[in-house]
Symmetry: C2
């Protein structure tokens, strides 16, 4: 328990994990954030194992990623992560991303709930002993997820069925797979000229195995897309994807 | 260039990268093999960068993976990799997999061609200076990919379009994504009771962006499936997937 409050982790970026441009995909970056979060929490006694013993699990509720620059053919990404705030039902986690030369390339912030594995309802976080020792009041460099307006029109651009590879250890659609499915609705021609500058997602319900899901997409204003993933009954996530010229 | 002939690499396994059973997926294992191969070659002067300077790229031609046991909720996988043989147009690469406690959990072997990036044809490998210094005559613990019979019936079980996330740095369907798409045709009920014991794949043509691909599947004999991925003209890969009871 002598770990510093802020965690710093390096992840290799291999030719194999990059997209056709030699840049890491947004879901690869999301994966790296999840790994940094997992390690930071695990090393400090409030990770997957400790939560599992209490029959609880961390569930990602919101995530915003802002990239200043996507490194090309770099060999490493470095992540600083810390917990700036704990509320009764939610805890925030911030991230700052550097390339292998130490340049600041992006930031992210996330909101997590600790659900009870049986009821699937959020539990009180503030009762976790010692958790508050790891709070670092450094604010995030980026804005929180802003309200994402519901899509009222029928703007389905893609449908998919939740399969084996989509599932996480809780048996639901993996938080990062959402990002991959959303990213895949944009044509490669767009990736040739632009990068996703800011990505925001709110997870509102669980994607279950075998569910047929629709992806809705609508250009809100120039280069900014509002998106939803829906099952037959309701919206399971909403997202906003903001594009900008390649840097 | 003072690297040992055999490379040994450790990769973290995170809760985030495991399947609903807490086991690494076969495509995650394939990814780890590709990363070990990339690092081993790069460190010894015949990797992606050196090949790119010669306007060539390594292309995976065949891969066989045999798993004795899939680790559950382990935190690390260790890969030994070496090149047992170089022929005029192909080079073989072997792998041996250990869990974090050092137990032998699986093996793999692969065949690679070095294609010319313009003509997309295989080039002569034996002319690469110094490459033969890294040959280790240790044979693979497992059998090579055996001949996979063509599927003559119309056994299409799934179709998909090659999207952004499917592409590798050469702009073609990523070798490991084939494994993910093939794995997804099996229901989770099968993964609950069984594991893939042996997986074999032959890559015969490139999957291009936007192509509509069909997956064909046929149970050859008890628990052994022959599979193909086809575009409108031809078979781009064939595979054999052999299942066995969970260990």
């Amino acid at each position: 328990m002598n770990n510093p409050i802020v965690g710093i982790y390096a992840f290799p970026l291999e030719a194999y994990t990059s997209d056709f441009r030699g840049k890491p995909t947004l879901h690869a970056i999301g994966g790296v954030l999840m790994q940094a979060a997992t390690r930071h929490a695990e090393e400090r006694g409030f990770g997957y194992s400790a939560m599992n013993e209490q029959n609880r699990a961390w569930v990602l509720s919101r995530l915003a990623i802002e990239m200043r620059r996507f490194p090309i053919n770099d060999h490493q990404i470095r992540v600083r992560t810390w917990v700036p705030e704990i509320n009764r039902l939610f805890t925030e986690r911030c991230f700052s991303l550097n390339d292998s030369a130490g340049n600041h390339i992006g930031d992210a912030r996330s909101l997590w709930a600790a659900i009870d594995l049986e009821t699937r309802k959020p539990t009180v976080i503030t009762d976790m002993p010692g958790f508050d020792r790891f709070i670092c009041r450094e604010p995030s460099a980026i804005e929180n997820v802003r309200k994402i307006p519901p899509i009222k029109e029928n703007c389905t651009v893609e449908s998919f069925t939740v399969k084996y590879s989509d599932l996480d250890i809780n048996g639901h659609l993996n938080s990062i797979k959402y990002i991959e499915h959303l990213s895949d609705t944009f044509p490669v021609e767009m990736y040739q000229q632009q990068d996703v500058r800011r990505f925001e997602i709110c997870y509102t319900a669980e994607g279950r195995y075998g569910a047929q899901l629709d992806i809705l997409k609508k250009e809100d204003h120039d280069g900014v897309f509002v998106m939803e993933i829906k099952n037959s009954e309701k919206t399971i996530c909403s997202a906003r994807v903001s594009w900008g010229i390649n840097r």
